[in-house]
Amino acid sequence: MTKQMSLKDAIREYVHDGDTLYASGFTHLIPFAAGHEIIRQGIKDLVLARATPDLIYDQMVAAGCARKVVFSYMGNPGVGSLRRVRAAIEVGTLEWEEYSHFSMISRLQAGANGLPFMPMKATGATDLADQNPNYQKVNDPYTGEAVVVVPPLKPDVAVVHVQRADAEGNAHVWGILGEQRLAAFASTRVILTAEEIVDQSVIRSDPNRTLIPGLIVDAVCHVPFCAHPSYTQGYHDRDNKFYLEWDQISKTEERVGEYLCEWVYDVPDRAAYWEKLGPDVHERLAAGARLSEPVNYGDY
């Protein structure tokens, strides 16, 4: 049963004002096209959860989509500060809830696995736990020691970008996996964006590569180059140049406003955005070929 639809329709149907959203991807596969569509549709009061808010949430916060961020590392990776989120926190216009990477991902693990909480080994660093009441302790029945736990995170909706999927949402993912799979299983609704929509026979040729099954997916959207300026392993490179440029753009609200007008509001969809980037960028970000050796599943 096909679940294919446009990204515009998927966002309209599955992302609502006030939702907790997890747009997943650790550096890799960040679904910028979905973020831009959410900005265009003027969705408000979102709780934006991501281990690394990255530029996608910096832009969504600047555009006024967010009520709160939930994160574990608020930086522009390899560059420096995430200026719009940081400014909003410093002036007090944005709520925030903060974790370490591992406790953030443990919350997703608990959410995806259906567990009441996840325990963690002691880290000895208690200042953050003192500020965030979601950190709790239970008594280890085997040793008598106190063990830190975090509660499940179950976002209302996840957006997950993948390399290839069939029309039912069975998806092959490779490269850096981050929290792709956990975000999908933890969330109530799942929007899948895919670089390629392939025949189901391609998926079935390598079932161990299917990290996200169609049965948990609500919408499948064909969105090539969805991840730019992040990247999709094997399809296009990370636009490091833009990550450096954003550090300049994001210094003032004015320049961010101009950026959003030119690259989000005045652009109908990702195809137009990619076209607008132009052939030089396309060429600079081309991925080249480096294929995996096939494996034999056997004909039984």
Binding site: H101, I176, L177
Partner: protein, 255 residues
């Protein structure tokens, strides 16, 4: 030919950090200076060193210097790639990591690190990026190294916020928390090396050539002590500088 008397502070730090690594170490590493230190160690005295990236990559063979920890060049040709939960559990929490590298805006007298906030947490003066993986790396890697320029504001007596654990207030305080790793083993700066004494207090254990103890004291926010066995580090060797400049960072992005 490389001029070995003429090196930059960044090169000095990379070379001294590399020398601390041991052959066979499994290192949890980020991009930038720690990455260069690992690659330098692999090309000199530690050919069997193994690098693990927080992004879930083991045994990367990057063909270019990555800007971010999640660069695609780390993946193509790597030995193994796994999820974020897996890298933090199967590798770090399980005890399979020998060395972690740490950084932050503030490092205090007992090696505690602040990467979260300057000022009050609820009303931040300067909001920093936050823990990322450093809370766990500091606690669970067998030993940790910190590489940072030596400036008074970076080395206060106490950090505003303990993002990750050093030796807390010293003595047995770290051990009593039950964390598995042994804690910071050295802070490598452009002036020398600080290492914890038996009480967990960072003291000066090495000066780089041409640097005086007073110079270091002036750039440290607490009453820095000097080890009785304080040495002067060997200057970067020609071969170390050659590898750094010609092989590892020819574009001089980090050095």
């Amino acid at each position: 030919m490389v001029d070995e008397l003429n090196y930059k502070p960044s090169e000095l730090m990379v070379v001294n950090a590399a020398r601390l690594l041991r052959d066979g170490d499994v290192v949890f590493v980020g991009v930038g200076i720690p990455n260069l230190a690992c690659n330098l160690a692999m090309r000199t005295h530690a050919p069997n060193l193994q690098m693990i990236y927080e992004a879930g990559v083991i045994g990367a063979q990057p063909s270019r210097l990555p800007l971010s920890i999640g660069d695609p060049t780390l993946v193509s040709g790597a030995l193994s790639v796994c999820s974020m939960y897996d890298i933090f559990t199967l590798y770090l929490q399980r005890g399979n990591v020998d060395v972690g590298f740490l950084g932050g805006a503030q490092i205090d007298q007992f090696g505690n690190i602040n990467a979260t906030v300057i000022g009050d947490y609820k009303n931040p003066k300067v909001r920093l990026p936050g823990s990322g993986g450093s809370m766990e790396i500091a606690a669970w890697a067998n030993r940790c190294y910190i590489i940072t320029p030596h400036q008074k504001r970076r080395f206060p007596a106490r950090v505003d916020f303990r993002t990750s654990i050093g030796f807390l207030s010293g003595g047995d305080a770290r051990k009593e928390t039950g964390v598995r790793g042994a804690g910071p083993e050295a802070v490598v700066t452009n002036l020398g090396l600080m290492q914890p004494n038996q009480d967990g207090e960072l003291i000066l254990t090495a000066l780089h050539p041409g640097v005086s103890f007073d110079q270091v004291r002036e750039n440290t926010g607490w009453d820095l002590k000097q080890s009785e066995t304080c040495i002067v580090t060997e200057p970067p060797k020609q071969e170390e500088l050659r590898i750094l400049r010609e092989e590892l960072d020819p574009g001089r992005i980090y050095i």
